[in-house]
């Protein structure tokens, strides 16, 4: 037995168009939430480190970073002080929700 299937219409062209902006919107939202979570979790002495946490665009995405000098020593420790990681746990927790955010954003755009 043999047969032929002819596709008359599908969502693939629209999906291809929407995928990149949906991913971008989800990534921007996720990075913003991560920055907020890190600000809440980071140890505060003068507030300089907390205030320096920011989101910025990178090639193909967004990065959450901190410009304060003590950012690296807080995250990874010094010769006398143990590490107090905040970026790594927040990034780890965000992995699952990020995939959901992309899916939600695609659904939202298709319903619109």
């Amino acid at each position: 037995m043999s047969g032929r299937v002819r596709v008359l219409w599908n969502h693939f062209p629209r999906l291809a168009r929407e995928l990149e902006p949906a991913g971008d919107a989800a990534a921007r939202a996720q990075a913003g939430e991560m920055a907020e979570d890190i600000r809440e979790a980071v140890r505060v002495d003068t507030g300089e480190l907390r205030e320096s946490i920011a989101v910025g665009p990178t090639r193909g995405g967004y990065a959450v970073g901190a410009s304060a000098d003590q950012a690296l020593s807080e995250e990874f420790g010094t010769s006398r002080q143990a590490a107090h990681p905040t970026f790594a746990p927040v990034a780890e927790r965000a992995r699952g929700p990020f995939a959901e955010k992309v899916a939600t954003e695609i659904h939202r755009r298709f319903r619109a």
Binding site: F76, G77, T78, Q81, A83, A88, P89
Partner: protein
Amino acid sequence: MRVVSNAIKAKLEADAPLVAGAPGGIHIRRVPQLDRLPAVVLAKQSGRQSYTLSARAYRELVYLVKGIAETREGAEAADERADAVLTDGTLTLQGQTLMRMRRTGDVEYSETAKEGRVYWHIGGLYAVGVTPG
């Protein structure tokens, strides 16, 4: 995850070239004394649990393992040896099985301590997956 931390420490301590290159020893979280360097420090950075419907399936842990030294070369050498020992290496774990252990990122920075000494911190982040049993 004390079990995993202790197992990584034991693994590193069993490597003769690393022990020779890091006379300050291998420590969890921080170096107790700075009079003998290079030293190696390991610390858990993050952890994530995954479950089946009724049980814990596996844990994804991220460990920092770094060399600390007063010279870049000293810290780098300790880091390179630790990488050779850990990436795709084995661990002896009580009640758990290692699924995989791989370096996923690099860490490198220097620190000028209050007394003016410069310490180099060079190491890597390691993804360690463990499952019960």
